[in-house]
């Protein structure tokens, strides 16, 4: 049945795309990140379902997507490496007030992003007050104060 294949292909493609475009988009930091995620969901839905307005197709597509999600999570439990490849690893960006410039550059994170997170999460004022800033797998930045 076409819907199942399309839903599966779409799921795997989206996993790949979001792995590649960077974690920050998923965290929806800016308004445009949110708009981007919304537009992507619209484009994906159109191709998966097409002209088919039946309940059956909708349910099948959802079952396929959730099914693949569950299957992947079970597989990840067995193979730790899959966990890394699919979800990534957390990354320490700042240690004892000193940011790792190379890591910030490669992860495409600004110092101002880190300071924003520090203000929002811990009410910190300056970089020197940050013991650790970690870019989590979800794309958010977590702050550990001194």
């Amino acid at each position: 049945m076409g819907t199942v294949w399309r839903a599966a292909a779409m799921y795997l493609f989206l996993v790949l795309i979001f792995r590649v475009c960077g974690r920050r988009v998923l965290a929806q930091i800016t308004t445009f990140d949110l708009v981007l995620v919304l537009i992507i969901s619209e484009a994906a839905q159109q191709a998966m379902i097409g002209n088919d307005f039946s309940m059956t197709t909708a349910l099948l597509a959802i079952v396929t997507l959730v099914g693949i999600d569950v299957a992947l999570s079970l597989w990840k439990q067995r193979f730790q490496k899959l966990n890394r490849w699919l979800d990534g690893l957390p990354l320490v960006l700042v240690e004892n007030g000193l940011p790792f410039a190379e890591r910030l550059r490669m992860a495409r994170v600004d110092e101002s992003d880190i300071l924003t997170a520090a203000r929002q999460l811990q009410g910190l004022e300056r970089m020197e007050q940050i013991k650790y800033a970690v870019l989590e797998r979800s794309g958010g930045i977590s702050i550990i104060p001194l």
């Binding site: 590649v20 097409g50 957390p90 320490v92 240690e95 490669m106």
Partner: protein
């Protein structure tokens, strides 16, 4: 906990001085490299799409004409499933009266005809062809007949067209899913 696991945690905690976190610099670097490669692939895909590899572009537009130069078919070499597909037929030397334009069923059976502009007077069906009848009032200028179709099958779609006074003209489209 096993000895090995103990040593691993100790090594990692030493690296980040007290933060118990799973970090692998080598994996991270390879991850970033893979990211950059993926970006190149994305850029290549966009350039390919703009050039017409997936339809609607300079690489995709094609024309087929019969040897005598009486019939010309403009078509797309590449198209997509459930997307509009256009076939422009130009009869260069029409005759006043009735024009009989036939299209192969091998092509039409795998597409949905959305509209034909101008609409034919009537359609005759045979095993391997569909013949469209048009009434021609002005035989002075070339006649344009546009078929607005929608591809319903993935893969290579081969078709032929012709009039009662021309040799068959072949065309083919590859339909992407």
């Amino acid at each position: 906990m096993s000895e090995k696991a103990n040593k691993q945690t100790a090594r990692q905690t030493e690296k980040t001085g007290g933060l118990e976190i799973e970090e692998e610099p080598r994996f991270q670097r390879r991850s970033w490299q893979a990211e950059r490669v993926a970006w190149l692939i994305m850029a290549a895909l966009i350039v390919a799409a703009l050039s017409g590899i997936f339809g609607d572009g300079p690489l995709s537009h094609a024309e087929s004409m019969d040897a005598a130069g009486t019939l010309r078919v403009s078509y797309e070499r590449f198209a997509r499933l459930n997307a509009p597909l256009r076939l422009e037929v130009r009869v260069l030397t029409p005759r006043a009266g009735e024009l009989r334009l036939w299209l192969s069923r091998a092509y039409l059976d795998h597409t949905q005809v959305e509209s034909i502009s101008p609409p034919p007077e009537r359609v005759a069906v045979s095993a391997d062809q569909l013949v469209y009848f048009f009434r021609v009032t002005d035989a002075a200028a070339p006649l344009d007949i546009d078929f607005h179709l929608m591809a319903e099958q993935v893969g290579q779609l081969r078709g032929q067209a012709g009039t009662e006074s021309s040799a068959p003209v072949s065309f083919q489209s590859f339909i992407f899913p």
